[in-house]
Symmetry: C4
Subunit: 369 residues, 4 copies
């Protein structure tokens, strides 16, 4: 038993939206695990803004258009995805449910959903691929202290079947995670990042008394730079994405290095607080890179209308993070599958009511000016 | 007994506004019936915006103008209406009060109010017309799976005395009605849409597991298009309105088809959430169609000042939906009549204090710039 | 004993601001009397906006200016007022305190404050003037159903010593006073407008069932028009002000008729709801009339900084309504005097900290742009 | 024992941010002492705005920049400060903790923090300098009723080792401190401004009954003017700063007099309410003085991101007032040191995540446009 949380044996009655899963999970989860999984950076301003910014964008209703044969398919790297909802990488899902990443993967497979597995998973990618119906997996990783370790991780993931790699670049240091301190959270001893076994750990020396609390620890010495990205790009012959881009200039630089895609993300508001909402940053970034590479985004997606808005403003698809954890903590795989089907249904309703038959129909003209 | 609600035998003391009826009804109605009648789409953002947008519009006070002989009359399709407040079509009023549509019709007749009867009424239009003092009725309908059924409905309503037809076009699919799911609402067995008896039901097949939750059900196959509207216009020799227009381009298209009027509506925020408030959409739509056809609007009207603002920004009259249900649930016909008289009185006060003697005096210059 | 309120025998400890008096009064007053004295029109949007608009205006601090000999005097109609705080006309002060208008007048005299006595006072103007130290009085009146009655009232007030007449023009009909209905308020039998004894009452016939709730009552037949103002101006050889002007065009018209001053007011938000805050309307009105006649304003003044802002944006002085009633209800004359002295002190602090030695120094440049 | 507050013997567990210290202190401090130390002017609008304005400024994340050798040092008056966080002058710290200014000074020394000692300290500057490891001290003073007393204070502070003098100019009169009145606060008899012993007290005569509450007291007669500043500048051969500048014109005037620096401050919102937030005023002031003299700022700093924003918008460093008192009241010197180290750490995280290696890298381009 990896956490004090007691999930429900089935989806509880009355769950009608992603928000309902959040309430259920918050009310039933161990407070420490909740602080780790759901906590935001500092004062949570960006985490709240991610959701609020969607709510403030108004849609245009368009009636009486023909909608026969409508669908939500999109093609990425030669794969036809059934819908534009991806599962975002989140660490240590065993904190939410004993079935952990296995449950999420099962729900992903059942609903035809791409799952971005976190490097900080407690379940190895090979174990997820060994099942009868494995999901389509992408693999998320952080640059390691030594380049050869980063490369080893990447090769392991690709060998295990990952279709793409996602390098997270917005968290060279930990954010200001007050919630965890206040809750006194400590990672349970039996939960560890299994993909890092055998790799060189990042050694951070303690800051001297009265010294620079971060800058004296050496944590930044191993932080990756654009040079490391350029190097990695040359080593990897598979789709390589950067995750955590919030600045148009950074996006242009990434495009210039031949990356395969960008994920606009502020780490769910868990890293630097008072960043803009991702949906606020998306249009400038989409405009900066034009059609040179595809963009995904995460942060604040709770409704099908949010997905529609993200696509209208430049994303090809979206990733869902916290809501998956909320559903997972509530009732495991069936709840995650239910969540995804609810969001798909809401997206289809939003498309029908704005007169869009397919994702390519969703342009800026569905936004009320 | 069609619901667990226990209406008051008379208007309770202290009821002074539409908001007071809402509070009374919410506190006394069966939670399931409340969720169906009052529930909004998804997060209720549009439902709240409908009201909040009125509150944020400021009026211009104009003093000392002559007000002798002031009145609120308006002429539509050759009928002189005593005032610009219509009763909006709402389904299954038996959920609010045992007297159901009979009570509403009685109040409408007593106050000289036009009532738009819903196709989803539990009371047949003929029954309402058979009373000693029937109200002026319009009839609202949805396009049916088969054109001949739509036409049959239309002819039945006109034969029964309906003065105009209102085709609702903004709900080809159900909105995201979380409130009903959360409340576990199910329609009581003895409440059904009597006007649909004998018509071909719309068959929606269930979506396959992991399939497209809406797009695979066939629900959209029967959804009407502009072609169906053009066809219906040719068949119907009576006033024909479209309800649910929120986009200026759609409004222009409707005007081009020779319709008799438009109702700017977002379905009370029950259909697609995060649409603009109707009073926000109204000016652009009024500007798009100019004087080519009359506009009504609903959504968020709770005060006489709201009615004044709607008329100032381009509506000829307004429709009242939820407040009628709140009054009906509180005390039946006398409460609905009281509600309408309160709103009329408030409108007259607002006209007097902005220096308007008649509806034509209510122009954009009553709005504080 | 005229109300169920039990005032404190002295100013309670801990009262430090106008807001503290409001809290004390609300907590101790009879709910019905409170609803009448403090209630706002309809939803109270304008009443709240009056205060909120002041809070949103930012000041400019200016330091190190010489402040020796600073004062707050202003001259109006040949009288040198010690400060720019007037007591606004409010009806039936016996609802707040047994000493009623006598207490307010005593506080006004003690603090050198001009008091605008309401026509709807329960105490006759002659009684207030008969005391040892009567305050400087202005007299507020409504136009009566018959011009000769209006003139009789005016002459009576001037004969009794009123220095100016204030004709309220923004309330030809009652506002939508829901609070009174909800509280079941009825005016106590022993409180009546003594100045109206012997004048022709305004006869309002009840509206017919289903008829126009206001327009059929004849209440507007006696409502004054600009012609009546022009006539009254010719009859009255004393300072004559209009109160309730919120529109620049109305202000210009008033200036053209030779009136002596205007009071920008929305009746404390008690009449037409969703009017702008008075401080929002003031600059446009001040700009419209230029220097042709002086402007006072009321509505939302709770702090010395509010007074400074009103003067900066075009008012010569301000009137205080509800706070006087709150202080009166709390502890009678000493509380009203204390309130006025607090506001004076706050104004002087605000002047000192924005570098203003006298009221003429308070210009638009004290407002942060 | 100087107050009823009972500080914790050590930093309580779960304290993770400046806000946590505020909550702890408010919950444990004597209400009167809290009202004095934490209370704001009038309605606290400016005090709240100071914090809220920071929250509304969005940052730009910039990834993958080289961060080796990052530091937070800055040089002022020839001294290399380890970081840009100064301790603001606050009066009578014995109200917060029995160790009073001694504890704050010890924490300042331990963390390499400059401390601006208040003239209204209960501990003499000489006593703080006599310890084994005294902090770097600046000395804050108000102009005294007599110029020679101001000069005597200045010389005493410089002789005791103060590196700079800070003349506060925004409080020639007390603000409207309602909180103290409501709490019935009186300064304990054993707490007094020891630096003023032997100087001529400012004699304020009481205002006459009904007279001008401030202007008749003579308090403003001794208020300093620009002439006094010019005179003092000539007398003092050490760094001389003005504190309390919120107006660009005042800033330019100060620059013209040869002062050594300005502190943009609204006295923590304790003086004139409804002034802008300091971070709102900072850009215009920085623009007005250009590079002619350095600017510090205080008001609302609660996070490392706030410090980053202040530097981006024109400040060289920031001062921390209330949070130091909150930490002091919680657990004395260790808590103050902990607070400063937390803020330093947060600043370093914010620099790392916006790609800044040193304070000079923090320009307007870290602000989201």
């Amino acid at each position: 038993m990896k956490s004090a949380t007691s999930p429900s044996p089935a989806v509880p009655p009355g769950i009608a939206s992603a928000a309902d899963y959040e309430i259920w999970a918050r009310d039933h989860m161990d407070a420490g695990a909740w602080s780790y999984l759901d906590g935001a950076g500092a004062d949570g301003i960006t985490a709240r803004a991610n959701q609020a910014a969607f709510a403030s964008i108004r849609l245009r209703s368009r009636v009486l258009r023909p909608l026969g044969g409508a669908h939500t398919r999109l093609s990425l790297h030669g794969h036809m995805h059934a819908h534009p909802i991806f599962i975002a990488p989140t660490a240590f899902q065993a904190l939410a449910h004993p079935d952990a990443e296995h449950a999420t993967a099962m729900a992903a497979a059942a609903t035809g959903t791409a799952m971005v597995l976190s490097m900080q998973s407690g379940t190895a990618i090979e174990a997820l691929q060994r099942t009868a119906t494995p999901p389509l997996l992408w693999f998320q990783l952080y640059a390691q202290a030594q380049r050869r370790d980063t490369l080893a991780l990447a090769h392991r993931a690709l060998n295990a079947g990952a279709r793409a790699l996602v390098l997270t670049v917005d968290a060279p240091v930990n954010g200001v995670r007050n919630a965890e301190v206040r809750a006194g959270f400590r990672m349970p001893a039996d939960i560890r990042p299994v993909h890092l076994d055998g790799l060189a750990p990042a050694h951070a020396k303690p800051a001297p008394l009265g010294g620079q609390p971060l800058f004296d620890t050496g944590m930044l010495d191993a932080a990756p730079t654009w040079d490391d990205i350029a190097w990695l790009r040359e080593q990897i012959n598979a789709p390589l994405w950067l995750k955590g881009i919030m600045d148009p200039d950074d996006a242009k630089r990434a495009a210039g290095l031949g990356l395969d895609g960008l994920i606009v993300s502020n780490h769910g508001g868990r890293c630097l607080d008072t960043l803009p909402a991702t949906i606020e940053a998306l249009p400038a970034i989409a405009s900066a890179v034009g059609n040179s590479l595809p963009i995904l985004m995460d942060g604040g997606i709770r409704r099908g209308t949010d997905i529609l808005k993200a696509i209208a403003l430049g994303a090809r698809a979206v990733l869902i993070g916290r809501p998956v954890l909320h559903a997972l903590a509530t009732a495991g795989a069936p709840a995650v599958a239910h969540l995804i089907q609810m969001l798909r249904g809401e997206l289809e309703v939003a498309m029908a009511l704005t007169g869009c038959r397919c994702l390519d129909d969703i342009g800026p003209d569905v936004i009320w000016p």
